[in-house]
């Protein structure tokens, strides 16, 4: 178990491509950190630099108190679970799990005890004599986890470990990983592009884009107060709705004019726009689908945030309904109660929850109100 420190980490490939730019992060002991972002954002590269599989171009990486930039992977006391599991096909499950211990010259009976203990935790006891090709995807995934936990490393690194599993198994394994973290109490760094995994597993999430860290915070803070348009759009499913609006200041009141409607902002948010000198400027209004309401009572109580549009698609998901519509040239989604009477083709009034409106600078894409 250990803390990690990444200071000004950069990775530039020989062809000049900058995969990671000035990455800074302090990871506490026993934290479950998630690196999330779209493909090619540098999250796996960062993880591989921590593992020692990629050279660090510049910066300082510490595991515990030791700088490990030039330390071999085998001497970093880390374990890694790979996306494609990377199980040794010619070895049995037992040998796969015992391989690392044998290399470290752990006594045979101790290896036996440790492998069996890990197998028990992961429910692999009956599979120890099988080869990887005789296992299902979920079982292989558990063996890969077993190979990592059996060594009791300081840090676990997981590179999209669930991406090859079907949706149901992924859900189950997510819970297993969460339980494993609570049980082992080890520092885990987990890479994923699946934001559900990120939101459910992580104690903190690092959102990355184009090799740059966009925001680091707890899942709830990231969801409620994204720092820029990218984070706002990336975290949350369905994603946040965005509308280009013109800021109109009238005394101490601020309205965002969009598609013929004037959305009035609450005083705290209005103050920030006034102070920022946004009067007359175009800003981006962001609102999450669950904050777009079609209930008549809500509309009646929020007359200053009402818009009207025709429903393009009605999607019933059982516990909720997604209504898709276009407004002011943008595609929008509302997540509403399944008892809604709105259907495809209906013209419906919606009201935004003013307190939940996010406003972003059109140029810098940074938040103004959070």
């Amino acid at each position: 178990m250990a803390s990690l420190s990444l200071k000004h980490i950069n990775k530039t490939y020989p062809n000049g491509f900058e995969a990671v730019k000035d990455f800074n992060l302090e990871i506490e002991d026993k934290e479950f950190i998630i690196f999330v972002g779209p493909s090619g954002c540098g999250k796996s590269t960062t993880l591989r630099m921590i593992a020692g599989l990629e050279e660090i171009t510049s910066g300082e990486l510490k595991i515990g108190d030791k700088v490990v930039n030039d330390v071999e992977p085998k001497d970093r006391d880390i374990a890694m679970v790979f996306q494609n599991y990377a199980l040794y096909p010619h070895m049995t499950v037992y040998d796969n799990m015992a391989f690392g211990l044998k290399l470290r010259k752990v006594p045979k009976d101790e290896i036996d005890r440790m492998v069996k203990e890990a197998a028990k935790i992961l429910d692999l006891e009956s599979l120890l004599d099988r080869k990887p090709k005789a296992l299902s995807g979920g079982q292989r995934q558990r063996v890969a986890m077993g190979r990592a936990i059996v060594r009791n490393p300081k840090v676990f690194l997981m590179d999209e470990p669930l991406s090859n599993l079907d949706a149901k198994l992924r859900g189950q394994m997510r819970i297993e990983i969460s339980k494993l973290h609570q049980r082992l109490g080890t520092t885990i760094i987990y890479v994923t592009h699946d934001q559900t995994e990120a939101m459910t597993l992580g104690t903190r999430i690092v959102v990355m884009s184009a090799g740059i860290v966009q925001q680091v915070d707890t899942p709830q803070v990231l969801y409620d107060t994204p720092c820029n348009l990218f984070v706002a759009g990336f975290i949350g499913s369905p994603q946040m709705n965005f509308l280009d609006a013109t800021c109109k200041v009238n005394g101490n009141k601020v309205a965002l004019e969009v598609g013929g409607a004037a959305i009035e902002l609450p005083p705290a948010k209005a103050k920030k726009l006034i102070e920022g000198g946004y009067d007359g400027k175009t800003v981006v209004l962001g609102i999450r689908p669950e904050d777009v309401h079609d209930e008549p009572m809500f509309i009646a109580s929020s007359p200053n945030t009402v818009i009207e549009s025709k429903i393009r698609v009605y999607e019933m998901l059982g516990a909720e309904v997604y209504l898709y519509f276009d407004y002011a040239g943008a595609s929008m989604t509302a997540r509403v109660d399944p008892r809604t009477t709105a259907r495809t083709g209906d013209t419906v009034k919606f009201a935004f929850d003013a307190e939940k409106i996010h406003v972003f600078d059109k140029e810098t894409e940074c938040t103004i109100t959070n």
Partner: protein
């Protein structure tokens, strides 16, 4: 242009389907059977052409001197089994076979280790000039073997290794073909496995022998077998660097004993019996490694699941 190509392809497909429809039924069946028969006949002929020299060699080994020269009879009147016992017990043939086996086994072992190490470095290690190194290695493959005889002879002579087992073995310590074959096999090993082994605590040596080698076993066996055959049959180079009868390998020995001994033209049955005996170790080896040999040629790296 691209659309026209696609259209042509579509029309060709249509025509093929139409022709297929015409050929469907009993007519098609007869043509398939005839084609099958033709294939079998070609294969049988090729097998006969390949096997005939061996059969001829064994039959000739059982003949008398007079019968060998008489082309009117293919089979001997009485099988002369004593030809084999005379070669085995009254000639140094066993010594030559022993020499060849010793030199070949040592050469194969060294070639496998050096080949695997170079192939591992080329495939899995990242260093400046890696591609150039491989290009240089492959370029030496293009060099005619005969061109290396004089410099190699001088080197061995300077090291006092002429007429020694060591000279015979170390002058074949590296096989370019082996490096190429193993490189191709190693390239099929997923990089993730090597990385997983690194994190598990393995160094390059352990990764090579504990992870990569077991996964490319068939290529190793194929290479070992081919290297063994080539070393066992080697004639020209050993003839240049050894001259004592005690150091002779089978090919040299066979020539030395039966031809240089002044019995040219008179001891053909024994030459044939000797040739048959020296082929036996190769046949036994091939029998045991046949499965792997064919897999290796087919490129199976043992990567399944």
């Amino acid at each position: 242009m691209e659309g026209q190509k696609l259209l042509n392809g579509y029309q060709t497909g249509q025509q093929t389907r139409r022709q297929g429809a015409v050929m469907f039924g009993p007519g098609r069946k007869i043509i398939n059977s005839l084609l099958h028969l033709l294939k079998m006949a070609v294969l049988l002929l090729a097998s006969l052409v390949t096997a005939f020299p061996f059969v001829w060699m064994i039959i000739s080994a059982l003949k008398t001197k007079a019968e060998i020269m008489d082309v009117s009879a293919f089979l001997p009147e009485t099988a002369q089994w004593q030809n084999f016992s005379e070669v085995l017990f009254e000639s140094p043939m066993v010594r030559y076979i022993g020499n060849s086996l010793f030199v070949s086994v040592c050469t194969v072992a060294i070639q496998v280790v050096t080949g695997a190490m170079i192939a591992y470095a080329i495939v899995f290690m990242r260093f400046r000039g890696r591609k150039m190194l491989f290009a240089v290695i492959m370029a030496t493959y293009m060099l005619p073997t005969a061109a290396t005889y004089v410099p190699s002879y001088i080197i061995l002579s300077n090291w006092n290794l002429l007429n020694t087992y060591t000279g015979l073995i170390i002058s074949n310590a590296v096989s370019i073909f082996g490096i190429f074959l193993l490189r191709q096999a190693f390239m099929q090993v997923p990089a993730g496995l090597v990385e997983a082994a690194k994190i598990d605590g393995a160094n390059a040596w352990k990764i090579l022998w504990k992870i990569v080698t077991p996964m490319t076993k068939s290529s190793f066996i194929t290479f070992g077998l081919m290297s063994f055959i080539s070393s066992y049959n080697n004639y020209m180079w050993p003839s240049l660097i050894t001259d004592s009868p005690e150091m002779s390998l089978v090919s040299q020995g066979l020539r030395r004993y039966f031809i240089e001994g002044g019995a040219y033209g008179t001891e053909w049955p024994k030459v044939m019996a000797g040739s048959t005996i020296i082929v036996v170790p190769l046949l036994i080896l091939f029998m045991f490694t046949q499965k792997w040999f064919i897999n290796g040629i087919g490129g199976d790296t043992g990567m399944k699941g």
